[in-house]
Amino acid sequence: MSLQSEILDGLALPDWNSSISQVKNSVRNAIRAIDQRVVIEDTDYFNHTFAPDFVLSWPGSPTNEARPVFLRLKDAVRSLVEDLSYVGGDDPLLLGLTSFAAESDDSVDRQQTVGEGARRDSTPRGAMVTEPDAFEQLAPRPNVEFGNYVSSALLRSGRGIVTEETSAELGDASASFFAAARVHDGSDLERSAESLREHLAVPEAERLVSFGRVVWEATGGSPVDFPVSAELSGRTDDLSLQFLLTEQIDADVDFWRAIGRGLRLEDLFALGAGDWPNVRRFVEANADRLRARAFKLEGAQGALSFQESDVGWSIGRKQLIAVFGSATAYFALRKGDLPPTKDEPRTGLTLRDLTARTSGRTVGSIEVSVGDERVTISGNEIDTSSSPSVSAMLASAQSRATEVTVDVEQKALECNLRERTASAPTAGLFSIQALLAEAVPILVGDLGAEIASYAERIGSPAVPEAPPGTPTELSELNTGLSGDDES
């Protein structure tokens, strides 16, 4: 049943409350069909001159926009547009509840003039005036790639008088815009962009064009051939990224790598926490570029085994989160942003086990504890003959390595073997890929083999090896170790 039919059925109900409830429910459903992410606040007003019926908002949107929606029992476009002067400058959306009345011929010019007036509202985005059949058509068409993007944009900042004909034109333009971006058809893209720009507020139109350019380049188009100029940079902006991470998109690794160009972990955090469908594809394609300063692994107990198809990536409040079966990895920009430890505290590794885990790596320093005593051994002190007290400490059966600093991506990575965390002691950042491939085996040994193996398969090829001549490897340490404790 069409929106108009539902509304008319609702209006026909004799009981006032039931009538209003049904009409508003129908409109609410239509709004939801246009943009599933919108939050719809019902104000409990209906057809009020000054108070909106609904207020729409988009949590997590970087612009924190909210759009009031006014329902109107009017069909004269002129009268609807005149109502704009009473509802204030918040870029409202006026939805007539019945089809626009046919205007007499001699009022056509006035209608066009009034339409221009609606588009030239004093607010940056402008108001939209529409009616049920047109409004319903703003919903994304099935099988149109990125159709949700334009529908959402029109709901957020569409402007002008949108008739059924206009709505159909916008749907056509939406489909052809992204199709043209994919196949790099400049003239078709330019024509579609012009049509869409006419009914979108300037910032939204710019964002749309920028997104189109991202798609253009991500699919192999040359940036210099993109036909439409845009104020925003070629980097994917927050709203576009939000869209890309949530929508059904048929795209390969190269597309996601192109999208990820220039994006950082903080850009993901800015979107807000969420289990977004495409996060995994995005992260895996950009695992060598997304960089974190702190890492934590929890829950890796016993034989850790997982199906790669079940690996889950999500965005936490201030962490990027990966789930590998019973183990969870956290990536953050500060050590303080890692979640509190839930696992049982560990005692550290025997030096023999540490040797095994760091074999082939460049070790900068080790912190060793025996009871309450702690000593940090730098690379220069690893030769035990120069320090008898240190040698004795290292030889003790109770000695445990609690921290080790290794070279990863030519920077020092400090691994805490008790907390199973790794972080940069200075301002350094490490790729997601390197943290999984290098830190996990150190923190959990063989338990992390599958995770490390997974890391090798994502992002771009392996991190370059450390240059020669750096501090000696732990295997040179001769301590007469005992015991099989491991953290």
């Binding site: 026909a12 057809n47 009020h48 000054f50 108070a51 029992l73 509802v87």
Partner: protein, 235 residues
């Protein structure tokens, strides 16, 4: 000149000659149906806006042509189930009161916007009373709490103190057969209903200056309404 009688010109000035004296008389052509309808819509719009600007009324319903069964009622003389247009009458606006003891009470309103002349309003007001009587008879005493008569022109000044009395309601219905058909349809007049109508009627005389100078500004109103929602919820 030899003009004899009145000649209507395009400019709406009539040229007459009477006993050799030429006079010009302004002839105002009557409003077309479309113009009347447009004026009616404008009046309903302005009344709705003013009522809601008081922050004491939510005018939920306007445009009765688009609202079957909402602001429209069958005349008493109409056959049961008749859908013929002539068997129905409608009010212009319907809504509820906000705040105070009247919170949630429902009202119907008739709006007459005749800027020039109130001479026909007396008859229209009497028609309105007949319609209110019919609604009271049809739906009982608790369905609608108030009937608002809204106009921009004073009327029936010499009878002002009588307009909201049962006597006036009865006289209005009895005066014309069509009003009697609307209200009674052949049934006897019930003074209890007439008293209810008289008590429930509110007469509102607006003026353009009142709308302009004595209402909150459009910018203030949304904020005031928001605050009132909280105040009324708390009470």
């Amino acid at each position: 000149m030899d003009v004899d009688g009145t000649v209507a010109c395009d400019a709406a000035f009539a040229l007459t000659q009477y006993r050799g004296v030429v006079r010009y008389r302004l002839v105002v052509p009557p409003l077309t149906g479309e113009e009347t309808q447009a004026r009616g819509a404008e009046g309903a719009d302005r009344a709705k806006r003013w009522l809601e600007a008081t922050c004491r009324a939510n005018v939920l319903w306007n445009n009765p042509d688009k609202l079957p069964k909402k602001l429209q009622f069958r005349k008493a003389s109409a056959a049961e189930g008749s859908e013929a247009k002539g068997d129905w009458f409608s009010f212009d606006l319907g809504g509820t009161f906000e705040g105070g003891d009247e919170h949630g009470q429902q009202f119907l309103a008739e709006v007459k916007m005749y800027e020039d002349d109130g001479s026909s309003l007396g008859g229209m007001f009497r028609d309105f009373l007949a319609c209110c009587y019919r609604v009271e008879d049809l739906l009982g005493p608790t369905h609608y709490d108030r009937y608002l008569w809204i106009t921009w022109v004073p009327f029936l000044g010499s009878k002002w103190s009588e307009l909201q009395t049962e006597t006036f309601v009865k006289a209005a219905i009895d005066e014309k057969d069509y009003r009697s058909a609307t209200a009674l349809g052949g049934a006897a007049y019930d003074s209890t209903l007439g008293e209810r109508v008289a008590e429930k009627v509110i007469i509102v005389i607006l003026s353009s200056k009142q709308e302009r100078f004595l209402a909150l500004s459009d910018g203030e109103l949304p904020e005031v309404l928001k605050a009132l929602v909280d105040i009324r919820r708390a009470s």
